[in-house]
Every structure is written in structure tokens, then in C-alpha cells.
């Protein structure tokens, strides 16, 4: 303000201009302000409903299952005579085996299908568009239908495997395969075309480009898809009941043994059906066991994803 050239008139004019600018910057119509606030409130509400549901499940399971929580849950088998010492060991092992089988089946199949659709399939051909449409639709098919499919084609019918754990894995793998394919496609599509061009321009073949540039860059996205798939597969009950998961198994299952296997949600279902209070407690504790398993698997997958996270 110590500028000697500044006259009274200049100062007034400047002040006036400043006031006008401030006015035009600060005046927002009241209606817009209200709409903005309302929209924000709705967003918070939507989030709160989702979180409240999750919190309700966790709190309910924790409170009701609290008396049964302890190492016995993981080490003991189920028992109808002695519910206070009953645990989930066979079902836990059954679930882990099932999921292991699902991962082994779904990762190569899902990635393979996604590579074909993204890198080789020519979208101008009608059959490729039909395949794409079907994969998307399959992701929304109810799981009981996969159970019937598994019973008809895997347990009986062409494959005739019988009621073994691998049949359960195969059925669950079919169930979550579309999810994995869709996620892997997204991940592959997210790799910039310039990376492919750079690789091809060096004289690399299409396969070398996919194998050494596209797939490594797509790993994080593919892992995300597998996490989603596992999360869904781990909680599925209906198809497993159809393909032979027994509700009450007291010994550890094996992959190919035909004397029965079980899984966590199936055993929880069994316990929850029983009228005695002890079993209600066990069912709630089973929910906690399942959440722990799910969280452990997901954390591992997230850790794996972060390790491969790349930027471009």
C-alpha cells in the first residue's frame, strides 16, 4: 500500500473491484447449497446402512457365540453329545480343501478364458460376442442351479465322481468362474495398449507379449477377482448340499475319500437347525470361525496384490 503512484481514486476503484469479485465468488444460490447438502447426506446414509448390516452380523455372532469361543472351535470335531466341547475342525478342513481346489481350477481357467476374450477373440465375430454375453449372464445364475448341474454332470452322469470333495470343488469352481473371468478381463483390458505395441514393435510374438508384459501387469487385478471368487465360494451352502457335503462329519475329509466331507456353512446350517441353545451358540461361533478364515485368506490375497501392484 506504500505505492506512491496510488491516488485516492485508484484506491477506491481497486477496493470496489475487490468487493465485486468477492461478492461474485461467495454468493451461491441457497437452493444449490441445500441440494448439495442433501446429496451428501444420502451418500452417508447409503454407506451407513451397508456398514450397519455388517456390524450387526459381527456383533450378533460375537455376543451369541462368545461362550464357545476358544481353541476348541478349531481343534475339536462336532459332537451332539457334548456340545460344549464341539468344534469345527472337519468342516474347517473341508472348507480349506474346497477353496484350495477352487483356486487351483479357477485361476488357470479364468485367466485363460479372459486372455482369449481380450487378446485373441475378434469382437466382430458373432460367436465371440455370444460367449461374452453368456459369461456375463452366468455370473448372475443362482447357485442352486450350479448345484443341480454338479449333481447331474459331476457327481453322476458323464464324470460320475460320486459324492467326493473334489466334486464339490468342481461345482464351486464352475459357480465362481464367470466372476474370475470378468475380473481378469477388466485387469487385462486395463493394461495400456502402448505396452503391447512397445513389446510387439521389438519383434516379440503375441504370446511373448501376453506372457511377459500383459499378464504380469494384470496380476493385481486378477488377484482381486480371485478374492471375490473365494469370498463367494466360501459361503456357498446350497450347491454343496446337492453335491454331497454332509452336514455332520466327525473325521477329517480327504480330497477323494467317498465317505463324506463337510464345509463350514453346511455345519453352521446343521447347528442352527437344532432346537437346543448350546447349538445356537455353536452356530454363532461358526460364523466367527468362517469370518476369521475369510479375513485371513483375503488379507493374504491383498498382501499378494500389493506386492505386484504396478503403475503406468
Amino acid at each position: 500500500m506504500a505505492d506512491p503512484t496510488e491516488t485516492e481514486r485508484v484506491r477506491l476503484a481497486t477496493a470496489g473491484a475487490r468487493a465485486v469479485t468477492l461478492e461474485s465468488l461467495s454468493s451461491q444460490p441457497r437452493g444449490d447449497l441445500f441440494k448439495g447438502a442433501l446429496f451428501y447426506a444420502l451418500l452417508i446414509l447409503a454407506l451407513a446402512v451397508a456398514l450397519a448390516g455388517l456390524a450387526a452380523i459381527i456383533i450378533q455372532a460375537a455376543v451369541k457365540g462368545a461362550p464357545a469361543i476358544g481353541p476348541d472351535l478349531f481343534t475339536n470335531g462336532p459332537s451332539t453329545l457334548n456340545p460344549s466341547e464341539a468344534g469345527f475342525r472337519p468342516a474347517l478342513i473341508g472348507t480349506l480343501y474346497l477353496i484350495l481346489g477352487v483356486i487351483v481350477l479357477v485361476v488357470p481357467l479364468g485367466i485363460g478364458a479372459a486372455i482369449y476374450l481380450e487378446e485373441y477373440g475378434d469382437r466382430s465375430r458373432w460367436w465371440n460376442r455370444l460367449i461374452e454375453l453368456n459369461v456375463q449372464n452366468l455370473a448372475g445364475v443362482p447357485s442352486i442351479i450350479y448345484g443341480i448341474l454338479g449333481l447331474a454332470f459331476i457327481v453322476r452322469g458323464p464324470l460320475d465322481l460320486g459324492f467326493i470333495l473334489v466334486a464339490g470343488s468342481l461345482t464351486l469352481a464352475l459357480l465362481v468362474l464367470p466372476t474370475v473371468i470378468l475380473a481378469a478381463r477388466e485387469a487385462i483390458r486395463a493394461v495400456p495398449p502402448s505396452i503391447r505395441e512397445g513389446s510387439l514393435a521389438l519383434g516379440a510374438t503375441q504370446w511373448q507379449t501376453i506372457r511377459r508384459q500383459v499378464l504380469p501387469a494384470a496380476v493385481p487385478g486378477v488377484i482381486t477377482g480371485v478374492i471375490l471368487a473365494i469370498s463367494r465360494a466360501i459361503g456357498e451352502t446350497a450347491p454343496l448340499l446337492l453335491v454331497g457335503a454332509a452336514t455332520f462329519v466327525t473325521f477329517n475329509p480327504t480330497f477323494l475319500g467317498d465317505n463324506g466331507y463337510s464345509a463350514l456353512p453346511v455345519l453352521i446350517f446343521n447347528y442352527a437347525q437344532r432346537p437346543q441353545d448350546e447349538f445356537r451358540v455353536l452356530a454363532a461361533a461358526g460364523v466367527i470361525v468362517m469370518l476369521v478364515v475369510l479375513l485371513a485368506m483375503n488379507s493374504f490375497a491383498v498382501w499378494l496384490r500389493n506386492r505386484y501392484e504396478q503403475q503406468w
Binding site: 503391447r196 505395441e197 521389438l202 519383434g203 516379440a204 511373448q208 508384459q213 504396478q310 503403475q311 503406468w312
Partner: protein, 280 residues
């Protein structure tokens, strides 16, 4: 492996294709202006050198709509040939035909003939992968792989099964005047480099597989003047070793670096409202 590539290259030049004799010459004389950066030999016939490419009446269409029409020209060995012209005249399209990168666009089709040492690049027995081994390309936007600096360069030699990968990496980085800047951080991610360094990395990456020709698609358009200057200096050095074809928007750049310049213009079709590029 390297030997087999060389042999393949030799075979390509030996096999004679009917029509090579008189075909392209006509196109050349009417097609090309000699660029402002005068012929280095001076006074001698500028077309005396060995031709790497001979284009004859090349038309490129996307889904039936022509982008470049009737281009005939020659590109000589160990020279820098610039393609200039306004936006949308198909310079990049034409360039991408030279190493069959247009194959990646399903709707693109190429008519006319493109001869590489007398061999039709679009012949039935030509494998685009082999073509790209000999004719490398540097793109408009630097596109390093999401890997370490070392792995970026080593990728080419590795997938082509060339030996002495480590030596090639160093030679290529030295060749691209990048060695002193990155020799202490070869294991760092290439995305940590500046834009100019990334582009020189891409040039080094191309050099590491010993191509004969390097195509450059506006290599400096995303770079600042200093980086641009470095790359131009680099190009002038590289032409001893390689033949270079560069697409550029920048007339001054074409004048500074090129031995010959092809100028494409846009023609409008009044009835169909199509536009395509034509060589003048």
C-alpha cells in the same frame, strides 16, 4: 538365433520380385522433395544410395475408408527420412505400415506394394513378427514397460533369444546417450525417469535388438525443447548405424534432422466428405 535372423534378412533381399525394376522409379521422381537439410554427399544423385523401402501406390484404409491414398516413395539406407504434413493426413498410418503395426488394427487394410529390400512386406510368406525384429519402432508417447530400466532394455534380446544380454543393454544405453545418467540405477523402475529419458530409453530398447530400420512416430511431441534437442542429436548419430524414418509435426525438426522429406497433404472429397492423405 541372431544368425538365423540375419539369414532370413539376406534371403529376403535375394529373392527377386517381378515388377521391382521399373515400378517404383516413376513414383519416386514425382513423389519426393529433397529436404532442406541438404544431401550429405552434395551434387551427386541423391537417389544413388541403397533403398531400404520402396513404396508403390500405397493406400491404407480403415474399414474401407481411405486414410492415405496412392503414396509412392523410396526410403534410403543410413539416412533420416522425415514424413511431415498437417494433422490427419495419415503420416502415422503410413509409418505404421512399414513394420506392419497396422496389422493390430483389425479394420485396417493396405493396398499397393511396400518393398523392403525388394521383398514385399505384405507377401503371403512374410511373418509380421520377423518384420518387426528388423524394423523397430519408437512411439509418440514414451511407453517404457512397468519394469526396471535394465529389464526394459533386456526384454527385447531375451524374447528374441539373443545372447550377451548384459552387454547389449550397456551398448544400447551408451548408444542412446543414457548410460551415464542411469548406470547407477539400472534396477530402478523406468517410470521414475523424466519424459525425455523415458523416450531415449525406448530408443535404446529398440536399438538393443539390432534392427536395421527405426521408425519414429513423433518421438519428441511430448517432450521439452532440451530433451528434443538431445533426441535429435541422437538421431544424427544413429543414422550411421540405422536407417530412420521419422514422422513429425515440426517443420524445423524435419529441416534439422532429415536428409529427405516427404510432405503429405490432406485432400477432401466433396461428395463423400472423406479426407485422406496424399503425397505431393
Amino acid at each position: 538365433m541372431e544368425d538365423s535372423i540375419r539369414q532370413a534378412g539376406d534371403q529376403m533381399t535375394e529373392e527377386d520380385i517381378p515388377g521391382t525394376e521399373e515400378g517404383p522409379r516413376r513414383g519416386l521422381s514425382q513423389g519426393i522433395e529433397v529436404g532442406a537439410a541438404a544431401d550429405p554427399i552434395g551434387g551427386i544423385d541423391p537417389w544413388s544410395g541403397e533403398k531400404v523401402f520402396e513404396l508403390e501406390d500405397v493406400t491404407v484404409s480403415y474399414g474401407g475408408v481411405p486414410a492415405v491414398k496412392g503414396v509412392s516413395m523410396g526410403i534410403q539406407r543410413n539416412e533420416i527420412t522425415a514424413l511431415i504434413g498437417p494433422s490427419g493426413c495419415g503420416k502415422s498410418t503410413l509409418l505404421r505400415c512399414l513394420n506392419r503395426m497396422n496389422d493390430l488394427i483389425p479394420s485396417a487394410s493396405v493396398d499397393g506394394s511396400i518393398l523392403y529390400h525388394g521383398q514385399d512386406l505384405y507377401g503371403p510368406r512374410v511373418d509380421p513378427v520377423q518384420v518387426r525384429k528388423m524394423i523397430g519402432m519408437v512411439f509418440q508417447k514414451p511407453n517404457p514397460f512397468p519394469k526396471s530400466i535394465y529389464d526394459n532394455i533386456a526384454f527385447g534380446p531375451r524374447v528374441l533369444g539373443l545372447d550377451d544380454v548384459e552387454e547389449r543393454v550397456e551398448t544400447a544405453l551408451r548408444g542412446a546417450a543414457l548410460w551415464d545418467e542411469v548406470k547407477d540405477r539400472l534396477d530402478d523402475n523406468a517410470y521414475g525417469m523424466s519424459g525425455g529419458q523415458q523416450q531415449r530409453l525406448c530408443i535404446a530398447r529398440t536399438m538393443a535388438v539390432d534392427p536395421e530400420v527405426i521408425l519414429m512416430d513423433e518421438p519428441c511431441s511430448a517432450l521439452d525443447p532440451i530433451s528434443t534437442g538431445k533426441i535429435e542429436d541422437l538421431m544424427l548419430e544413429l543414422k550411421e548405424q540405422f536407417s530412420i524414418v521419422i514422422v513429425t509435426h515440426n517443420m524445423q525438426q524435419a529441416a534439422r534432422v532429415s536428409d529427405k522429406t516427404a510432405f503429405l497433404i490432406v485432400r477432401l472429397d466433396a461428395t463423400e466428405n472423406n479426407r485422406w492423405g496424399e503425397l505431393v
